[in-house]
């Protein structure tokens, strides 16, 4: 999905970097959530894709639980300062059990974004009209 985004100039390099980063430390943070991320020259600005995995995905998460919600984040190399801030916001977003479950259950992208906005986190990192692009997909 992100490979087709115009802000990603080299999809293959992006994919390789995601795998490379996972090799350092799994980004499965537990609670059924993973946040694979990479800061790379092949990305011109923040890009975020969200995927719901109905059956769960083995991700080598720290709690060994399958992952049902994936936030994939890309940033350019010169966004070092804000990159980690975005990661922190995503983690805070999914820490709340009720909200996390609603995000997993949301049927259309607008529902998902409304939950994000309601959490007052829908600014530069996740919300509509944010810098970069957001995508929501479903995988079964």
């Amino acid at each position: 999905m992100l490979g087709q985004d115009p802000l990603v100039t080299d999809a293959r390099a992006f994919r390789a970097a995601i795998h490379d980063r996972e090799a350092l430390l799994s980004t499965g943070i537990g609670l059924g959530v993973a946040v694979p991320h990479v800061k790379i020259r092949a990305v011109k600005d923040f890009v975020i894709a969200v995927a719901r995995v109905a059956d769960g995905l083995e991700f080598d998460a720290i709690d060994r639980q399958p992952v049902r919600l994936v936030f994939m984040i890309g940033a350019s190399e010169d966004q070092a300062a804000s990159f980690v801030q975005v990661l922190a916001r995503v983690v805070r977003l999914v820490k709340d059990d009720d909200r996390r479950e609603r995000l997993i259950q949301s049927k259309i992208p607008d529902d998902f974004l409304n939950i994000v906005r309601a959490a007052s986190l829908g600014d530069s990192s996740l919300g509509a009209g944010a810098r970069g692009t957001g995508s929501l997909g479903t995988e079964s």
Binding site: R21, A80, Q85
Partner: protein, 591 residues
Amino acid sequence: MSQSHSPSIPPIGTTGRLLFLCVLVGAVAGVGAIGFYWLLEASSHFFLDYLAGYRPEGPAGEQPLIPETDTPFRPWVLLILPAIGGLLSGLFVYRFAPEAAGHGTDAAIESYHFRAGSVRARVPLVKAIASAITIGTGGSGGREGPIAQIGAGFGSIIATRLNLSRTERRALVAAGMAAGIGAIFHAPLAGALFAAEVLYREMDLEYEVLVPSFIASIVAYSIFAVKYGWSPVFSTPEFVFQNPAQLLPYLVLAVVVALGAMVYTRVFYGVHNGFERLKVPRWLKPALGGLVVGGIGWFVPDALGAGYGVLQKGFTSELSITFLLVVAGAKIVTTAFSIGSGGSGGVFGPAVVIGGALGGAVGLIMQQLLPNLGLDPGAFVLVAMAGFFAAAANCPISTIIMVSEMTGNYHLLVPSMFVCVLAYLFTRRFTLYEKQLPSRLDAPSKMGNMLSAVLGKIPIQRAISGEENFATFQESTGFRQIVKTYAETDQSCFPILDDAGKLIAVIHDRDIRHVIDQAELADLVVARDLSRKPQRLPADASLLDALRHMTVSGLDALVLVDPGDTTRAVGVLSHEQLVRAYDQEVLSASD
């Protein structure tokens, strides 16, 4: 035999080019001085001689260029002439080049210190014409200010045309100033020293402009003298100093000229500031000043114009104590109203006349009080000329030489040195030149050079001495470990090494600081997520190189690498360490 080439000495080609340009500046300034002197003479001839029938005596070394007229003396014309001159000068200056108003030396000093030696091309011509009008109509002003600004302007124009550096432009501006003064006062050595000394208020000298100033001054003086003669400006008797006891009355003279210089400066700037506040069009102010000058000139004509004739008579003790004191007082006021109102002219010429008049009066009094010391009041005139200006302008060295060259008399160097130094020390808080800086340490052009010179001499190793050990991370180092290490060290940046120990990235402390309280990152973030490309600097570089790297990158820490293998990190340097090393170097070099 080996030759070394110091990096602080410019290549011979650069120096040669600059010195050649000094010859050019000297030639242009010499021709400019000839033109300016002729303008002054022509203006005085037309206004004072032809219109007013007033023909003040000049110094013995300068003969009138134009035959005198037979116009009878008309005091009422003399009464209004300075106002007319002020009006013409004001209209002309404020229409074409307002910076040419007032006394030009300060403008040249300002250009040197604060405008990188930049002078508009039109200024020399406007200054020459405006000064000729002001002085030629009886305004009390000297030639040094105008010719300093004119010469400096020539230097600046040549530097601009040739697209020279700021340093070279400043050198040519100073050379132009020296050339103009050296030529018009028949004082090439003093002109060069003056240009280097007048820039600072304290005991300091712009030594790097001395050689350019000497060259330009020699050329300009030679050209001027070929046209107008090689004689000194004044002709003086053979004064001698052969009795140390004479230093006692010279001590009194030093006190008197110091007090006089303080009064001169206070009155000048009191009037100047008054005119600044006056709510009338600025082009009208020189005319208003001229009215006051004309009124004083009605009673004391010798307080008008250059006034050098008074000095010439003073050398031979032809004037009374009362007359000398009146001229000194009146000249202080006429100068303040002529130039302080915005008229165009210098303050050196009036200063030596005021000083000389005071000196003549002191000499006559001392001669009566101490008849056995063999005092010559004429010698007091000469010494006081130097002492007064040394005190007023904080230029003791060049003034001693200036007066000696102007009079062709070097027999009074000892009392001149004595009086000049004492008077200068008495009045260090006063100066006629507001744009003078206290010392080279205060010069904007020097600060950057001094900082660079100091930093360029400090090796990085000295800055990190005692702090050679440093922490590093691997790309997989977790967030908790990063925060823990950050808390335990003072490092500003942390190199990230690969498995082979090669430098691949760096984490800066500010990137950790931004997220240090976000515990939720503990299981998600590793060193790679916080990393940036490393700014590498060879460990054998200087702190100046380090500062440049930091400035360009906007970062306040650098990774130091092996000069032979830039993938091997050997240390880190923070901005704080850089500043500390600089402070230590400066403090160790200070008293």
